[in-house]
Amino acid sequence: MNRDPTLPILVAVSVILLAAGPFLPRWAMFLINVSLCYGIVVLGMMLLMRTGVVSFGHGLYYCLGAYAAGTLDQVCKISDMAVMLVAAVIVTALASAALGLLLRKYRDIFFAMLSLAFSMILYGLLVKTSSLGSSDGFNIAATKIAGFTVAGTSVERYVRYALTVVCAFAAGAFMYRYLNSHMGRLAEAIRDNELRVEYMGASVRNVIHVNYMISAVLAGVGGALAAIAVGHIDPEMAYWTTSGEFVFVGILSGTSSILAPFLGAFIFETIRSFAYEYSPNTWQMALGITMLVVIMFLPGGLWSLFTRKRKAA
């Protein structure tokens, strides 16, 4: 029997990241932090893609999670990171439970378009809500964690970073367990042939609904963590191009391993930060070309490079 190295790798990388944190330069810490946030969101996209549906509106939950965290700070004057995360989870879980009731009946393009409509509704609302900063958004400050005040530059940065690493680890470990569970295994069966899954007695709609909720909560957590890390949020997080980026990274990464989204997100964020620096006007073009290459030559995503090699050996 082949032993699956996924979980040990996940543990090892998390421990290394936690230990190396204090010695990292500021930019590297920020880069890793942001790409892990992104990776958590894409992890949810991966689950949806495995189920055979693509959401062009996950910016909705990304934004909702961020605004849940931000509103706590702005309106309720609570700046505790742990509370912010819990709020993001609750808000996105409730929203996705409600919207999932509708979306579970849709497939393919209609799933994509309806989810896009929902995210654009949120965008339209936020842009016109002047108490939340309209299209400029607002700054948020997360200075406490679980009651302890951590304000003070370098400690605060490390705490934010460590929180993200821990959340990413938890999300990855959860997803690993979930994909190997009964429900999780149904996902790919639905993608391959939905009708047969129903004949065998499983409810396709329930599975899609649950998977949609899981991916939504992950997007919310990613959004809240990104908001804490960056310190600023705006409605652009719900715009359809943000959701498009999630889909892009999902395709780039591939769906075969829970590690793929994190790798994909890290590559994506690294390229983005350097491209912004050196050639801000051609970076989307590079993305588009990469996407075409991946779709044409690597339909399984970047991760299939690893698995293919292992099979050959």
């Binding site: 393009i109 209609f110 409509a117 509704i121 609302l125 009708l195 715009y239 051609t282």
Partner: protein, 298 residues
């Protein structure tokens, strides 16, 4: 009362615009089953080339009335160049893949063209307002509307009627309907499906560019207009039922009036109202207003 009239007129103008930007998208989807995100970039390309060519025309001191013809030529040129390049160079290798994969392919094209536009025209906005005011204006009650809006309305009606006529009354159109109905069978009957796709995509691209060219005088042409417009066009097309021409017309009318009402009565709901209509319609009729039933395949 006056406000109600204003809502109706504004709504009609906005509907015309929506129909023009959405019709090419629905045509391409109807025939090729591709939800073309790159339509937004074609719109942007049309707007940019119209703005720069018409701007050049006016700067040279040629008769300003000619700028309309220049804008039209710009749109047709964009369609004739970009359409074939995208279809022959890329999309034809993708036929037969999942619809959702094709959406992602056109999304990639969209990203590439967005930056292409920035590279060619830079990131500063272009203004080409002369054609907008050139035709004078008309009054209804105490409201004044530029006559250019009539051009927009006329163009929408003209495009709709011509397309409907071509589809139902001409030999080419009937062949197109056959391809829509059953691609493989019509291929077996001797219709050159590849050519039908090629022509459809080029015409669709031209319509997208025309939408941009007609819009250029009314807005500041700047990066991001493609992304803004394509989601509106999506909303219209999805509400109407993907691939349906009358559906797109009805949806444009519906969305246009609702948005005009929102702008007049509850301005904070402007953008929100459009997607709300989309969500409500999709909830009531999951595949849009005009859509055919499909059999589930095992």
């Amino acid at each position: 009362m006056a406000q109600l009239l204003a809502v109706l007129i504004d709504g009609l103008i906005y509907s015309s615009w929506l129909f023009i930007i959405a019709v090419g998208l629905t045509l391409i989807y109807g025939v090729m089953k591709i939800l073309n995100i790159a339509h937004g970039s074609l719109y942007a390309l049309g707007a940019y080339s119209a703005a720069s060519l018409a701007g050049y025309w006016i700067k040279q001191g040629y008769p300003p009335m000619g700028s309309y013809a220049v804008m039209l030529v710009a749109a047709i040129l964009v369609g004739l160049i970009a359409g074939p390049v995208i279809e022959r160079g890329l999309l034809r290798f993708m036929y037969g893949k999942d619809e959702i994969v094709l959406v992602l392919v056109t999304y990639a094209v969209f990203l590439i063209l967005e930056d292409f536009v920035k590279l060619v025209w830079g990131v500063d906005p272009y203004f080409i307002a002369q054609p907008y005011g050139l035709l004078g204006s008309f009054d209804i009650g105490d409201l004044t509307y530029p006559n250019y809006n009539l051009v927009l309305f006329g163009a929408a009606v003209f495009i709709g009627v011509v397309l409907a006529w071509v589809l139902t009354k001409t030999r080419q159109g009937k062949m197109l309907l056959a391809v829509i109905h059953d691609r493989e069978m019509s291929g077996a009957m001797g219709i050159n499906v590849g050519r039908v796709y090629f022509i459809t995509f080029t015409v669709g691209a031209m319509l997208g560019a025309l939408g941009g060219a007609l819009t250029a005088p009314m807005i500041s042409v700047q990066p991001g207009i493609g992304a803004e417009t394509i989601v509106l066009a999506f909303a219209v097309v999805v509400i109407g039922g993907l691939g349906s021409l009358p559906g797109a017309a009805l949806a444009a009318l519906l969305v246009g009036i609702v948005r005009a009402a929102a702008v007049h009565y509850r301005p904070e709901l402007d953008l929100f109202s459009i997607y709300l209509v989309m969500a409500v319609v999709l909830i009531m009729r999951p595949k849009g207003l005009f859509s055919a039933q499909e059999a589930r395949k095992i």
